[in-house]
């Protein structure tokens, strides 16, 4: 792990295209600003842990119930043709 020290408003640039800025330091809380292309995923570490937890909860050996999704109509209703 690369360890750097930065002051408020200073930045780190990753891969020449991702910029991390120290926006504010408030006691124990550091506000970080990240500029990256939209297709670069940037997530708090917790999201991986949350998904792990969700996966663990989802694993099952009981297959008796599944949700029921509302049926989508396959064909638009044909309006009744009035008698001539």
């Amino acid at each position: 792990m690369l360890i750097l020290s930065r002051k408020t408003n200073e930045c780190v640039v990753i891969d020449g295209r991702i910029t991390v800025k120290i926006v504010r330091v408030d006691g124990e809380v550091v506000k970080i600003g990240i500029e990256a292309p939209a297709d670069v995923p940037v997530h708090r570490l917790e999201i991986y842990e949350e998904i792990q937890r969700n996966n663990r909860e989802a694993l099952t050996n009981n297959r008796s119930t599944v949700p029921k999704l509302p049926l989508k109509p396959l064909v638009a209703a044909v309006p009744a043709v009035p008698a001539a």
Partner: protein, 144 residues
């Protein structure tokens, strides 16, 4: 009953059983890499991602567009490269459903993305995960 068929586009669309290989497993289940994707009659569009070596264990999954037609997950360039996806239509998505009694939710932040030709997949964290729920509610469960 149906033997694993060689992976082709037709197989993934009409086959009722397919073996899927996840080289990285699922988050929290990294050592389990081989699954059978199967459908129980009457449970469409839901499918079971069943552990190949322990058929008693499975995840309930659903193609997300059946739940949310406007779902627009952004798959990162790195995940696209890892999966060998060339066109968006190369990807099949299955999102994990959690059953809690009669309430069910689906994880829209971390779909399982499968290359329909290689049948290799990965659970990805979509780049726009912040805009979707980990516990998106589904209609109440019914006895199958």
């Amino acid at each position: 009953m149906i033997a694993a068929e060689s992976p082709t586009l037709a197989t993934m669309e009409v086959g009722r059983e397919n073996i899927v290989h996840l080289p990285l497993g699922l988050l929290g289940f990294e050592s389990i890499k081989d699954y059978v994707l199967l459908t129980e009659p009457g449970q469409e569009p839901f499918r079971w991602l069943q552990v190949l070596n322990d058929p008693s264990l499975a995840f309930l999954v659903v193609p997300p567009f059946d739940v949310m037609p406007e779902y627009s997950p952004l798959i990162s360039p790195e995940d696209t490269r890892i999966l060998g996806l060339v066109r968006p239509s190369d990807a099949l998505l299955y999102n994990i459903v959690t059953l809690r009694g009669s309430r069910a939710t689906v994880n829209l932040k971390g779909p399982i993305v499968v290359n329909r030709y290689t049948l290799r997949g990965k659970q990805v964290v979509i780049s726009n995960a912040a805009g979707y729920s980990l516990h998106h509610p589904l209609p109440a469960a019914e006895e199958a």
